[in-house]
Amino acid sequence: MTSDSENSIQLDPDGGMRGYLSGLPVADSSAALWPRIERTRLRRRRRRLLAGSGVLGALVLLAVLMVRVPVPADAPALTREAAPVIEIAAELRDIDRSLQAAYDRDASPEQIDALWQAREFAATQINQESYHHDAIIRL
Protein backbone atom coordinates (compact mmCIF):
# COMPACT_ATOMS: atom_id res chain seq x y z
CA MET A 1 0.00 0.00 0.00
CA THR A 2 1.42 3.32 -0.89
CA SER A 3 1.88 5.62 2.03
CA ASP A 4 1.30 8.71 -0.15
CA SER A 5 -2.39 8.05 -0.48
CA GLU A 6 -2.79 7.47 3.25
CA ASN A 7 -0.75 10.51 4.30
CA SER A 8 -3.07 12.80 2.36
CA ILE A 9 -6.26 11.29 3.77
CA GLN A 10 -8.87 13.81 4.80
CA LEU A 11 -12.35 13.30 6.15
CA ASP A 12 -15.39 14.93 4.56
CA PRO A 13 -16.65 18.07 6.36
CA ASP A 14 -19.51 15.98 7.79
CA GLY A 15 -17.05 13.35 9.02
CA GLY A 16 -17.89 11.00 6.15
CA MET A 17 -15.48 9.18 3.87
CA ARG A 18 -16.99 9.54 0.42
CA GLY A 19 -14.35 12.07 -0.57
CA TYR A 20 -11.58 9.71 0.42
CA LEU A 21 -13.19 6.66 -1.18
CA SER A 22 -13.95 8.42 -4.45
CA GLY A 23 -10.34 9.58 -4.60
CA LEU A 24 -8.90 6.08 -4.47
CA PRO A 25 -6.84 5.12 -7.53
CA VAL A 26 -8.71 3.62 -10.46
CA ALA A 27 -7.96 -0.04 -11.06
CA ASP A 28 -7.76 -1.65 -14.48
CA SER A 29 -8.30 -5.28 -15.26
CA SER A 30 -5.87 -7.14 -17.49
CA ALA A 31 -6.14 -6.86 -21.26
CA ALA A 32 -6.65 -10.62 -21.42
CA LEU A 33 -10.03 -10.43 -19.69
CA TRP A 34 -12.14 -9.57 -22.75
CA PRO A 35 -10.71 -12.40 -24.91
CA ARG A 36 -11.35 -14.76 -21.98
CA ILE A 37 -14.98 -13.61 -21.70
CA GLU A 38 -15.49 -13.94 -25.46
CA ARG A 39 -13.98 -17.44 -25.51
CA THR A 40 -16.24 -18.57 -22.68
CA ARG A 41 -19.29 -17.02 -24.34
CA LEU A 42 -18.62 -18.73 -27.67
CA ARG A 43 -17.82 -22.07 -26.04
CA ARG A 44 -21.06 -22.00 -24.03
CA ARG A 45 -23.06 -20.99 -27.10
CA ARG A 46 -21.61 -23.88 -29.14
CA ARG A 47 -22.37 -26.24 -26.27
CA ARG A 48 -25.99 -25.10 -26.18
CA LEU A 49 -26.30 -25.44 -29.97
CA LEU A 50 -24.75 -28.88 -29.85
CA ALA A 51 -27.05 -30.01 -27.07
CA GLY A 52 -30.01 -28.62 -29.00
CA SER A 53 -29.03 -30.30 -32.26
CA GLY A 54 -28.41 -33.60 -30.46
CA VAL A 55 -31.87 -33.58 -28.92
CA LEU A 56 -33.44 -32.57 -32.23
CA GLY A 57 -31.58 -35.30 -34.10
CA ALA A 58 -32.63 -37.93 -31.59
CA LEU A 59 -36.26 -36.81 -31.83
CA VAL A 60 -36.20 -36.90 -35.65
CA LEU A 61 -34.65 -40.36 -35.64
CA LEU A 62 -37.17 -41.61 -33.11
CA ALA A 63 -40.02 -40.16 -35.17
CA VAL A 64 -38.70 -41.82 -38.36
CA LEU A 65 -38.38 -45.20 -36.70
CA MET A 66 -41.78 -44.99 -35.00
CA VAL A 67 -43.54 -44.11 -38.26
CA ARG A 68 -42.02 -47.07 -40.09
CA VAL A 69 -42.38 -49.84 -37.54
CA PRO A 70 -46.18 -50.36 -37.68
CA VAL A 71 -46.29 -51.56 -41.36
CA PRO A 72 -46.91 -55.30 -40.87
CA ALA A 73 -46.16 -56.54 -44.40
CA ASP A 74 -42.74 -54.94 -44.52
CA ALA A 75 -41.83 -55.61 -40.92
CA PRO A 76 -39.00 -58.13 -41.54
CA ALA A 77 -37.44 -55.96 -44.24
CA LEU A 78 -37.77 -52.88 -42.10
CA THR A 79 -35.96 -54.52 -39.23
CA ARG A 80 -33.12 -55.50 -41.53
CA GLU A 81 -32.99 -52.14 -43.27
CA ALA A 82 -33.29 -50.11 -40.04
CA ALA A 83 -30.21 -51.75 -38.59
CA PRO A 84 -27.65 -49.56 -40.46
CA VAL A 85 -29.66 -46.47 -39.58
CA ILE A 86 -29.58 -47.39 -35.90
CA GLU A 87 -25.85 -48.11 -36.05
CA ILE A 88 -25.11 -44.78 -37.69
CA ALA A 89 -27.35 -43.01 -35.20
CA ALA A 90 -25.33 -44.57 -32.40
CA GLU A 91 -22.17 -43.42 -34.13
CA LEU A 92 -23.61 -39.91 -34.38
CA ARG A 93 -24.31 -39.90 -30.65
CA ASP A 94 -20.72 -41.01 -29.98
CA ILE A 95 -19.41 -38.19 -32.15
CA ASP A 96 -21.66 -35.70 -30.37
CA ARG A 97 -20.30 -36.86 -27.03
CA SER A 98 -16.75 -36.53 -28.33
CA LEU A 99 -17.51 -33.03 -29.58
CA GLN A 100 -18.96 -32.07 -26.23
CA ALA A 101 -15.87 -33.40 -24.46
CA ALA A 102 -13.60 -31.61 -26.96
CA TYR A 103 -15.28 -28.26 -26.26
CA ASP A 104 -15.13 -28.92 -22.52
CA ARG A 105 -11.39 -29.45 -22.57
CA ASP A 106 -10.72 -26.60 -25.03
CA ALA A 107 -9.44 -28.95 -27.71
CA SER A 108 -7.57 -27.52 -30.69
CA PRO A 109 -9.59 -26.21 -33.67
CA GLU A 110 -8.10 -29.03 -35.80
CA GLN A 111 -9.46 -31.72 -33.46
CA ILE A 112 -12.86 -30.05 -33.36
CA ASP A 113 -12.94 -29.66 -37.17
CA ALA A 114 -12.09 -33.34 -37.57
CA LEU A 115 -14.98 -34.29 -35.30
CA TRP A 116 -17.38 -32.01 -37.19
CA GLN A 117 -16.28 -33.61 -40.47
CA ALA A 118 -16.88 -37.05 -39.02
CA ARG A 119 -20.30 -35.90 -37.87
CA GLU A 120 -21.18 -34.51 -41.28
CA PHE A 121 -20.12 -37.76 -42.91
CA ALA A 122 -22.26 -39.79 -40.50
CA ALA A 123 -25.20 -37.43 -41.01
CA THR A 124 -24.88 -37.82 -44.80
CA GLN A 125 -24.80 -41.58 -44.41
CA ILE A 126 -27.88 -41.63 -42.25
CA ASN A 127 -29.70 -39.51 -44.83
CA GLN A 128 -28.68 -41.88 -47.62
CA GLU A 129 -29.74 -44.92 -45.63
CA SER A 130 -33.08 -43.30 -44.90
CA TYR A 131 -33.54 -42.53 -48.63
CA HIS A 132 -32.63 -46.12 -49.54
CA HIS A 133 -35.00 -47.36 -46.89
CA ASP A 134 -37.79 -45.16 -48.25
CA ALA A 135 -37.17 -46.52 -51.73
CA ILE A 136 -37.56 -50.10 -50.45
CA ILE A 137 -40.82 -49.20 -48.75
CA ARG A 138 -42.12 -47.55 -51.93
CA LEU A 139 -41.26 -50.67 -53.95
Binding site: E6, A27, S29, S30, L33
Partner: protein, 202 residues
Protein backbone atom coordinates in the same frame (compact mmCIF):
# COMPACT_ATOMS: atom_id res chain seq x y z
CA UNK B 1 -32.23 -3.24 -43.48
CA UNK B 2 -31.17 -6.86 -43.31
CA UNK B 3 -29.51 -8.36 -40.26
CA UNK B 4 -26.16 -8.43 -42.11
CA UNK B 5 -26.43 -4.77 -43.16
CA UNK B 6 -27.30 -3.85 -39.62
CA UNK B 7 -24.29 -5.71 -38.24
CA UNK B 8 -22.02 -4.27 -40.96
CA UNK B 9 -22.99 -0.67 -40.25
CA UNK B 10 -22.70 -1.32 -36.55
CA UNK B 11 -19.12 -2.57 -36.81
CA UNK B 12 -18.12 0.62 -38.64
CA UNK B 13 -19.46 2.84 -35.89
CA UNK B 14 -18.50 0.60 -32.96
CA UNK B 15 -14.94 1.87 -32.68
CA UNK B 16 -16.09 5.46 -32.40
CA UNK B 17 -18.69 4.51 -29.82
CA UNK B 18 -16.12 2.68 -27.73
CA UNK B 19 -13.92 5.74 -27.68
CA UNK B 20 -16.69 8.13 -26.69
CA UNK B 21 -18.04 5.90 -23.95
CA UNK B 22 -14.56 5.30 -22.59
CA UNK B 23 -13.88 9.00 -22.51
CA UNK B 24 -17.07 9.72 -20.62
CA UNK B 25 -15.78 7.78 -17.58
CA UNK B 26 -19.32 7.61 -16.29
CA UNK B 27 -18.93 4.13 -14.79
CA UNK B 28 -22.18 2.25 -14.32
CA UNK B 29 -24.07 5.45 -15.16
CA UNK B 30 -22.86 5.20 -18.76
CA UNK B 31 -25.93 5.00 -20.94
CA UNK B 32 -26.21 2.32 -23.56
CA UNK B 33 -27.69 3.35 -26.89
CA UNK B 34 -30.52 1.33 -28.36
CA UNK B 35 -28.57 0.33 -31.49
CA UNK B 36 -25.75 -1.18 -29.46
CA UNK B 37 -28.18 -3.03 -27.24
CA UNK B 38 -30.17 -4.36 -30.19
CA UNK B 39 -27.02 -5.54 -31.96
CA UNK B 40 -25.75 -7.18 -28.77
CA UNK B 41 -29.06 -8.96 -28.30
CA UNK B 42 -28.52 -10.45 -31.77
CA UNK B 43 -25.14 -11.74 -30.57
CA UNK B 44 -23.03 -9.20 -32.49
CA UNK B 45 -19.49 -9.50 -31.11
CA UNK B 46 -18.56 -5.87 -31.75
CA UNK B 47 -21.62 -4.69 -29.84
CA UNK B 48 -20.87 -7.02 -26.95
CA UNK B 49 -17.33 -5.71 -26.82
CA UNK B 50 -18.65 -2.13 -26.82
CA UNK B 51 -20.75 -2.98 -23.79
CA UNK B 52 -17.77 -4.57 -22.07
CA UNK B 53 -15.49 -1.60 -22.80
CA UNK B 54 -18.15 0.81 -21.52
CA UNK B 55 -18.42 -0.84 -18.12
CA UNK B 56 -15.21 -2.83 -17.64
CA UNK B 57 -13.43 -0.28 -15.47
CA UNK B 58 -16.42 0.34 -13.19
CA UNK B 59 -17.06 -3.39 -12.95
CA UNK B 60 -13.49 -4.29 -12.09
CA UNK B 61 -13.23 -1.46 -9.55
CA UNK B 62 -16.38 -2.59 -7.78
CA UNK B 63 -15.42 -6.28 -7.82
CA UNK B 64 -11.98 -5.42 -6.46
CA UNK B 65 -13.46 -3.44 -3.57
CA UNK B 66 -15.67 -6.40 -2.66
CA UNK B 67 -13.25 -9.26 -3.22
CA UNK B 68 -9.99 -7.53 -2.35
CA UNK B 69 -7.85 -9.50 -4.81
CA UNK B 70 -7.37 -8.62 -8.48
CA UNK B 71 -7.50 -12.23 -9.68
CA UNK B 72 -10.74 -12.91 -7.82
CA UNK B 73 -12.16 -9.60 -9.08
CA UNK B 74 -11.39 -10.61 -12.68
CA UNK B 75 -13.15 -13.93 -12.13
CA UNK B 76 -16.24 -12.12 -10.87
CA UNK B 77 -16.20 -9.67 -13.80
CA UNK B 78 -15.75 -12.57 -16.22
CA UNK B 79 -18.68 -14.53 -14.77
CA UNK B 80 -20.89 -11.45 -14.62
CA UNK B 81 -20.36 -10.43 -18.24
CA UNK B 82 -20.83 -13.98 -19.49
CA UNK B 83 -24.11 -14.21 -17.55
CA UNK B 84 -25.18 -10.74 -18.63
CA UNK B 85 -24.61 -11.57 -22.30
CA UNK B 86 -26.57 -14.81 -21.95
CA UNK B 87 -29.45 -12.98 -20.28
CA UNK B 88 -29.34 -10.05 -22.68
CA UNK B 89 -32.26 -11.37 -24.72
CA UNK B 90 -34.46 -11.05 -21.65
CA UNK B 91 -33.33 -7.52 -20.79
CA UNK B 92 -36.26 -5.20 -21.49
CA UNK B 93 -34.80 -1.93 -20.29
CA UNK B 94 -36.95 -1.71 -17.15
CA UNK B 95 -33.84 -0.52 -15.27
CA UNK B 96 -30.83 1.33 -16.73
CA UNK B 97 -28.43 -1.20 -18.21
CA UNK B 98 -25.52 -0.15 -15.97
CA UNK B 99 -27.63 -0.62 -12.86
CA UNK B 100 -28.80 -4.03 -14.08
CA UNK B 101 -25.19 -5.06 -14.73
CA UNK B 102 -24.02 -3.70 -11.38
CA UNK B 103 -26.61 -5.72 -9.47
CA UNK B 104 -25.60 -8.83 -11.37
CA UNK B 105 -21.94 -8.19 -10.55
CA UNK B 106 -22.57 -7.51 -6.85
CA UNK B 107 -24.58 -10.72 -6.51
CA UNK B 108 -21.86 -12.68 -8.32
CA UNK B 109 -19.07 -11.22 -6.20
CA UNK B 110 -20.90 -11.83 -2.93
CA UNK B 111 -21.72 -15.39 -4.00
CA UNK B 112 -18.03 -15.83 -4.75
CA UNK B 113 -17.04 -14.54 -1.31
CA UNK B 114 -19.61 -16.81 0.27
CA UNK B 115 -18.41 -19.86 -1.66
CA UNK B 116 -14.83 -19.15 -0.59
CA UNK B 117 -16.10 -18.81 3.00
CA UNK B 118 -14.14 -15.62 3.32
CA UNK B 119 -16.25 -14.56 6.25
CA UNK B 120 -17.43 -16.50 9.20
CA UNK B 121 -20.47 -14.38 10.01
CA UNK B 122 -19.00 -13.03 13.22
CA UNK B 123 -20.19 -9.67 14.58
CA UNK B 124 -16.69 -9.00 15.84
CA UNK B 125 -15.32 -8.37 12.38
CA UNK B 126 -14.42 -4.77 13.03
CA UNK B 127 -12.20 -5.80 15.91
CA UNK B 128 -9.98 -7.44 13.31
CA UNK B 129 -9.12 -4.05 11.86
CA UNK B 130 -5.72 -3.55 13.42
CA UNK B 131 -4.79 -7.20 13.11
CA UNK B 132 -5.53 -7.14 9.40
CA UNK B 133 -2.91 -4.50 8.65
CA UNK B 134 -0.36 -7.18 7.92
CA UNK B 135 -2.44 -8.21 4.91
CA UNK B 136 -1.91 -4.90 3.18
CA UNK B 137 1.09 -5.92 1.18
CA UNK B 138 -1.04 -8.36 -0.79
CA UNK B 139 -3.77 -5.88 -1.57
CA UNK B 140 -4.25 -3.67 -4.56
CA UNK B 141 -3.56 0.00 -3.87
CA UNK B 142 -6.99 0.91 -5.21
CA UNK B 143 -8.38 -0.45 -1.97
CA UNK B 144 -6.64 2.17 0.17
CA UNK B 145 -7.60 1.94 3.81
CA UNK B 146 -10.41 -0.43 2.89
CA UNK B 147 -7.78 -3.14 2.73
CA UNK B 148 -7.64 -2.98 6.51
CA UNK B 149 -11.27 -4.03 6.87
CA UNK B 150 -12.53 -7.60 6.78
CA UNK B 151 -14.33 -8.58 3.55
CA UNK B 152 -17.88 -8.12 4.73
CA UNK B 153 -17.27 -4.78 6.46
CA UNK B 154 -15.39 -3.48 3.42
CA UNK B 155 -18.23 -4.52 1.11
CA UNK B 156 -20.87 -2.83 3.27
CA UNK B 157 -18.86 0.41 3.39
CA UNK B 158 -18.32 0.48 -0.37
CA UNK B 159 -21.86 -0.50 -1.36
CA UNK B 160 -23.45 2.06 0.96
CA UNK B 161 -21.03 4.95 0.58
CA UNK B 162 -20.15 4.68 -3.10
CA UNK B 163 -22.75 2.56 -4.90
CA UNK B 164 -25.89 3.94 -3.30
CA UNK B 165 -27.17 0.74 -1.75
CA UNK B 166 -29.67 1.17 1.08
CA UNK B 167 -29.32 -0.66 4.37
CA UNK B 168 -32.31 -2.84 3.57
CA UNK B 169 -30.74 -3.85 0.24
CA UNK B 170 -27.42 -4.62 1.88
CA UNK B 171 -29.11 -6.60 4.63
CA UNK B 172 -30.96 -8.66 2.01
CA UNK B 173 -27.75 -9.34 0.08
CA UNK B 174 -26.09 -10.73 3.19
CA UNK B 175 -29.24 -12.41 4.50
CA UNK B 176 -29.09 -10.13 7.53
CA UNK B 177 -31.29 -7.39 8.95
CA UNK B 178 -31.28 -3.72 8.05
CA UNK B 179 -30.04 -2.83 11.53
CA UNK B 180 -27.13 -5.23 11.10
CA UNK B 181 -26.06 -3.26 8.02
CA UNK B 182 -26.41 0.07 9.86
CA UNK B 183 -24.41 -1.16 12.81
CA UNK B 184 -21.62 -2.68 10.71
CA UNK B 185 -21.34 0.46 8.58
CA UNK B 186 -21.21 2.79 11.59
CA UNK B 187 -18.56 0.69 13.31
CA UNK B 188 -16.51 0.32 10.14
CA UNK B 189 -16.56 4.05 9.38
CA UNK B 190 -15.67 4.88 12.96
CA UNK B 191 -12.70 2.55 12.85
CA UNK B 192 -11.57 3.97 9.51
CA UNK B 193 -11.85 7.52 10.83
CA UNK B 194 -9.75 6.60 13.84
CA UNK B 195 -7.20 4.97 11.56
CA UNK B 196 -7.02 8.16 9.49
CA UNK B 197 -6.53 10.28 12.59
CA UNK B 198 -3.82 7.92 13.84
CA UNK B 199 -2.09 8.19 10.47
CA UNK B 200 -2.20 11.99 10.54
CA UNK B 201 -0.80 12.27 14.06
CA UNK B 202 2.14 9.97 13.35
Amino acid sequence: MSCNDFAHSFVHSAKHKVMTTMLSEAGFATTLDAATLAAAQHGNSAALETIYRSYERAAFGLALRILGRPAAAEDAVHDSFVRAFEKLGGYRGDAPFGLWLKRLLVNTAIDQLRSEQRWMGSDDEIDQLSASQSRQSNQHEALGLLARLPERARTVVWLHEMEGYSHSEIGALFKQSESWSKSLLARSLERLRRAIQEESTQ
